[in-house]
Subunit: 332 residues, 2 copies
DNA sequence: TTGTATGCGTTATCAT
DNA sequence: ATGATAACGCATACAA
C-alpha cells in the first residue's frame, strides 16, 4: 500500500505538504497539488483507514449484532442497515449471536475495544428468556451507544426502533372479526417467549375479548413437529375459521395443513401471518401478511444511531415503525 | 477508554512496563505484573484494537461481500463465515452488493484501504451477466487475497470454494430416471444466467441425454409471474412426471401449482429442488432437496482464506463441497 | 527488572 | 507556500 511518506519521498517534499495537498488545503499551491494528486492517482494511493481511525478516534464503523439472518426479517433489516451505513460512509461489523446469550456477550465484549463507534442489536432469544442484560448495560455505561431494535429490553433506556407489535395484531384480529365476520380465530406462534411475541399475543387477546370471542392460542415455540401439531389442532377444532400466525413460518404451515384436511382457504379459513414478499410467494393460496417494514427499520436504526454519535447531548428516543396489513385476495 | 498511558501514570511506572506486564513478559517481576493486572481489571482496560492494527499492520478482519442475505443459501453461508471467523479471532465486515456490479465495485474499493486483510465474496448477478471482473483482479493485483465461493469467475485464479453444481444435478436427474423411472423430467430455474445455474442445467442435460430422454428447460429468471408460468406449463404438458428446480424457490411453487391442477405429488409428479431445512418445512407435501452444505462452505472459506493470509508461499486451491440429496419421502 | 525511544500512517499545530 | 514536529495507542528493540 502506498503511503504519504512514499509519495513525499518520490516528490521530494514533506509528508505534511502531501497530506495537505491531498486534502485540498488552501495552504498549498495549485502546481504542487497537481503534482501530488497525479502521482497519488498513478500509484493508486488511498489513505490508510486504520491510521485515520487512530488519529481521529472514530472508527466510522457500527457493530451489528443479530440473532440470525436465517430469519428473513433480520435478513431484510440487515439489508437496510448495510444500505444506510454505506450511504453514510460507515462500515458494519456483523456478529451473529445464533440466539445464544454467551455469544452475544462475547461479541459485545470483543467489539467494545475501540472497534466500533456504536452498536445496533436485537437481543438473542436466550437473553430474553433468561432476562439477562447486564452485558448490555455494561457497554452503555462505558459510553458506547447501543440502539436496540425489534427485540428490545424494556428495562434498558437507550435508542430503540420497534414494530407496532401489539397494534398490528390487534388491527389484524379486528379486521377478521369486523370485516370478515370470523368467529373462531386461532393464534399460532413459535415465538411466544420473545418480547415481541408476548406483545402480539396481547394484541390478539384484547381484540377477541372486546368482541366477546374466545381466545385460542397454540404455542409451538418448543415443539418438535409443528406440522403435526397444527394438523391435529385443526382436525379437532373444525370451528376455527381464521388463523393469525405471529411469526413467518407457522402461517404457511397452517395453510398447508388446512388444505390437507380439506378446508378451503380463504373461504373456510382465513389466514394472516407475519412476513415479506417471499412469504407470499411460497404459499398457495397466498397468505395475507402483516408486513413489517424491515428495510425501513434497518435504515431508521442507522440514522438514529449516527445522529446519536454526532450529537453532543443526544436525547434517547424510541421510534415505532408501523406495519402494513397486506391482504392476499379478498375473501368472504 | 482506559489506555496504557493512563495505567502507567496511575502506577507511576512506564508505559512499556505496563505493556509488557499485560502481555505476561518474563522481563517483568511478579509483583509488578500483579499490580498492573489488578488495576487493568479494575479499570476494565482493553487494548485498543485500532492501535494494535496499525502497529502490526494486520486488521484481523475479513471483508465479506455477498449479493444478498435474503437468499437462505447466502444467509447460511454467512453464518458459517461468522462462526469460523469468530473462532479464529477475526471480525467480518459485511457488504451486500444487492446483485449490483457497481455496489460490488464500490465495496471492494472502499475496503481495500487497509480495512481488511482479505476478502470472501460471491459475485453479483450483474457482474456475472455482464462478465465484468476487472474490479476483482485489481484487488488481487494489489496483493489483497480474495476467496470466491459459489458464484465464481472461472477466468480469475484465486482460492475458491464451490458446490458440485454439475454433479449434484446430474445425480439427482439420474436418480429420477433410474430409481423412479421418470420419463419426462422438467427443469425449472430462475438462475439460468448465473455460473452455477449454467452448470446445473448442463448436469441435467447430460443425464437426460444419456438416457435418451427429452430435455425440457423452463427459464424464469426474467419472468414476472413465476407462478402463472409454471402453472400454464404444467397444464399444457401433462406428460411431465418429475421436476428439478435448480433454485430454492421454483420447486416449492411447482409443488403448489401441481396440486392446484390436481396432480398428486410425489406419485404423479416427483419434485426435487435446491434448499435447506426451511425449504422442506414450507412445502407440503415435502419437497426433496439437493442440500448444499452452506454452513460448511462458509467455514471452509474462512479456513482457506486464513491459511492463505498466514502462509508465505500459499498455493491457490479450489475446494469442492459435495451436496447431499435429501429425499422427502419414498415415492413410487 | 524497568525505562527510553522509535515507528506504524495520518492529521494538525506551529514554525519557517 | 512548505516543512518540521507531535500526537493518537500500542509494541518492541535497545539502553540502563
Amino acid at each position: 500500500m502506498t503511503t504519504l511518506k512514499e509519495l513525499a519521498k518520490l516528490l521530494n517534499i514533506s509528508v505534511s505538504t502531501v497530506s495537505k495537498a491531498l486534502n485540498d488545503s488552501h495552504e498549498i499551491s495549485a502546481s504542487t497539488k497537481k503534482r501530488v494528486i497525479e502521482l497519488a492517482e498513478k500509484l493508486n494511493y488511498k489513505p490508510n483507514r486504520i491510521a485515520q481511525q487512530l488519529k481521529t478516534n472514530k472508527t466510522k464503523t457500527i457493530g451489528v449484532i443479530l440473532p440470525t439472518v436465517k430469519n428473513p426479517f433480520f435478513a431484510q433489516v440487515l439489508h437496510g442497515i448495510e444500505k444506510s451505513a454505506t450511504d453514510n460512509k460507515y462500515d458494519i461489523i456483523v456478529c451473529l449471536s445464533d440466539e445464544s446469550l454467551e455469544k452475544e456477550e462475547r461479541s459485545l465484549e470483543l467489539l467494545s475495544n475501540g472497534s466500533v463507534d456504536g452498536f445496533i442489536m436485537a437481543v438473542a432469544r436466550e437473553s430474553q428468556v433468561k432476562e439477562q442484560s447486564e452485558h448490555i448495560t455494561g457497554i452503555i455505561d462505558s459510553r458506547i451507544p447501543i440502539l436496540m431494535f425489534d427485540r428490545v429490553v424494556n428495562e434498558i433506556i437507550c435508542d430503540k426502533v420497534v414494530v407496532d407489535d401489539f397494534q398490528s395484531v390487534y388491527d389484524a384480529t379486528e379486521y377478521l372479526i369486523k370485516k370478515e365476520n370470523r368467529k373462531h380465530i386461532l393464534l399460532v406462534s413459535n415465538i411466544e417467549e420473545l418480547s415481541v411475541g408476548k406483545l402480539r399475543i396481547k394484541g390478539y387477546q384484547k381484540a377477541v375479548e372486546e368482541s366477546g370471542l374466545d381466545s385460542n392460542v397454540l404455542k409451538l415455540g418448543n415443539v418438535d413437529d409443528v406440522e403435526a401439531n397444527i394438523h391435529n389442532y385443526l382436525k379437532a377444532h373444525k370451528e376455527i375459521d381464521a388463523i393469525i400466525s405471529i411469526d413467518h413460518i407457522t402461517g404457511i404451515i397452517a395453510i398447508n395443513m388446512a388444505k390437507k384436511i380439506g378446508r378451503i382457504v380463504p373461504k373456510d379459513l382465513s389466514v394472516i401471518g407475519f412476513g415479506y414478499e417471499h412469504t407470499q410467494l411460497l404459499s398457495s393460496p397466498k397468505i395475507s401478511i402483516i408486513h413489517q417494514k424491515a428495510l425501513e427499520i434497518g435504515k431508521m436504526a442507522v440514522k438514529l444511531l449516527i445522529k446519536h454519535l454526532n450529537t453532543e447531548d443526544h436525547e434517547l428516543q424510541t421510534i415505532v415503525v408501523p406495519s402494513e396489513l397486506k391482504l392476499a385476495e379478498s375473501t368472504k
